[in-house]
Symmetry: C2
Subunit: 497 residues, 2 copies
Amino acid sequence: MGWHYAALEDRFARLGHLEGALAILHWDTAVCMPEAASAARGEQVATLKRLAHDLLTADETGELLAGAEAESDLDPWQRANLREAHRRFRRARALEPALVEALARATNACEMTWREARRRSDFAMLRPALEEVVRLVREAARMSGAALGLEPYDALLDEHQPELRDALVAPLLDRLAAELPSSLDAAIARNRPFRAPRGPFPIEAQKKLAERLMARLGFDFRAGRLDASTHPFCGGTPADIRITSRWREDDVGSALMAVLHETGHALYEAGLPRQWLGQPVGEARGIVVHESQSLLLEMQVCRSPAFLRFLAGELEAAFGPDPAWTAANLRALWHRVERGFIRVDADEVSYPLHVILRWRLEKALLAGELAVADLPGAWAEGMRALLGVTPPDDARGCLQDIHWPVGAFGYFPCYTLGALLAAQLARAARRELAGLDDEIARGDIARLLAWLRARVHARGSQPGFEELIEEATGGPLAAEPFLDHLRARYLERPGAA
Amino acid sequence: MGWHYAALEDRFARLGHLEGALAILHWDTAVCMPEAASAARGEQVATLKRLAHDLLTADETGELLAGAEAESDLDPWQRANLREAHRRFRRARALEPALVEALARATNACEMTWREARRRSDFAMLRPALEEVVRLVREAARMSGAALGLEPYDALLDEHQPELRDALVAPLLDRLAAELPSSLDAAIARNRPFRAPRGPFPIEAQKKLAERLMARLGFDFRAGRLDASTHPFCGGTPADIRITSRWREDDVGSALMAVLHETGHALYEAGLPRQWLGQPVGEARGIVVHESQSLLLEMQVCRSPAFLRFLAGELEAAFGPDPAWTAANLRALWHRVERGFIRVDADEVSYPLHVILRWRLEKALLAGELAVADLPGAWAEGMRALLGVTPPDDARGCLQDIHWPVGAFGYFPCYTLGALLAAQLARAARRELAGLDDEIARGDIARLLAWLRARVHARGSQPGFEELIEEATGGPLAAEPFLDHLRARYLERPGAA
């Protein structure tokens, strides 16, 4: 290992410290910060981001990268680290500083307008700001694409999930688009009546149950915590993982499922290779893989009939006896399928249809085939075609998501590809780990977690995206495991999966 | 205003953002951080501190300072800002980077050793690490002094309280050393029996009472919060003030008084000139002034007989009836004077004697007149001379404070000078605000706060230290107001002040 590579690691370590500090500030903003501090916090974050950007894009970083490339004695992890460092450098240098600044300003303004526009369900109010964001994102996608040798939309996908291309996305989502609308009909026809659990559910008791389950699933509270925020998320750093959820006294399910989902993200972060903490190769392998870990825990494990048997007992212990606490009733309740308007409230069967709508529309917006002004109409039309419902207003239509206002295009497909990967990983794990569901029925996922550690978590970003999937599951990312999972859970003998 | 000055403000604004981020990380470390994150947090903090140090000490900062000095159209605030910016630059540049690093390493190691040595009451264990710290601090004081034209000990005092010199400290502390030992005898003789309040005091109820009192005293919860930590402190930034205390179910007084003390710090921060937020001139005018604000609120206001009448009602409302909740009993309880070993537990009369001991010893250590090895003996001898007691062990002797292990020499005098200034400010306020104690007896300090805002808080660092005191109180810092206060409260007719 020559001095260029060593100096490069040192530089990225400092970058990692800045990003770690930013992660804690982000958590603090959502969980602790008093309202009047918001402007000052914005300045702190902007200054730290600028220092990080300057450190990453400095000419000296480029010189160290070039020098390290010429150093021949790197081991495979160091070489992968160099590759990932180069990737970050190239991406960050692809955009002119003026465009980065214009985007930051435009998305900041658009996000604020969006909050008000959604509250009023007033798309006209959002339109000019969103037009500006679309214009700038299109320009950024073109510039990044040119620098990276990618089509513009691929350049956006690649930002969230390295190596992801629309050529991989399209056949998968088209397959789901062809099959899920009819599955939705069939699944809804099989919804069964359920008994609603009797609240109220004291929030302290909900939190205690959540913490007990997190610990049971492998979350280490010496290196993380659980708090409340408006929107659930998993933040912090691998040594300091900060999960949030939101609790309501009249509903025990949604906060709990949010915690279990975020715990999946947390276990991935906790399992990243500790000796590479803070280096590019030590990071998670992109948003699709991250989402696969949260959905694997939530959908494949915690909503499985086996785990629901365990959970029924836990709920009774936490809140006292209630005829609602049976595995069969929890299945009727939590395997329910509906035609809804809101993506984040959607079930497993309809969720991909919400994603497909957004994926089609964002590609049309960026290609200039759809004007921002025509978005509400196109949204309503797409909802009718895919889900068979018409949103009653734009708040429950094209104003519901924060992603586009903040400039996150090319992100939505990651959710559904994550669901596919979760099903594919779960199938591989069940194939290799005989008796897994018996363990899950006891709330014990230790063997599954060890399997995920070895196949996914501890690999960090050492393998590429497609390489990781191939090696973990034996094949490329596919739709079949997910569709089989939906068939088994929602379309076959009641309560089978 | 020329471009040099404008660019300088921009540079110090960025420095302020870094320091604001560090303040939140510091709070998070004490209040939220899970234990396993400690090493990673240390790295984050070190990187942010280094970036801040680089920004401050860069040659470019010096060039901007020189250019701004030549710009003739600055208003008085801008000129003061330039003066304070220059001060920070000169101080930061005075030390060679190698010494700064050696000090950081030595104090870090010494602090860790100290925690263990104090736990075991084992001074020999601490000795080598403390010797190294003393050696480096002596070198740093010499270098800073040379750069700033100050005696070494004055260079240390000046770091915590600009303009503070031992020529000001010595006559004040000598005066107290001459008078307080006999006052202590007399005050102890006047201790009256008290009725201990009957616990337990549920911590939630204690916190609610603390928050109610904070709000009543003018703390704005839209711009701050109250939490729990091992040691009470006031951190954050003026727009985001974070107070902590520590609660025990069996004791209602100590946590409450800690909250009221920290609220004094908080009100100062909140009242700093908002338009100068983040600039050097917008900061508090040093540790003596800061300590004067916490002690003014705690000692001069909240422990006054007037406020204790109000507090007796609040305690009864919070915890139910108890014959202990009378103003007379609270005075007997909270005006009690004792010969103790521990500085942080000391009452108003004996506290300065603890400070005087440390002030004498640290000067002797730095002058090379006292060897670190002889510290336990010198400590015990000083305690006998000043307080008439002999510590039973070093844990309750020279191992009790964190200050020296972390390199904070020249800090202790600020506590007692803050107490003097608090008494002097309270006397001036009572002279100008007729009927103030009637308001205090209703828990209303609005007029007092407005007075402090105008005389102290809103002035930031625009005036110098001595100028601020002169203009606020009509004279230089003196011992008489404090001694008069002690006489009235502890030595005259029972319960008068």
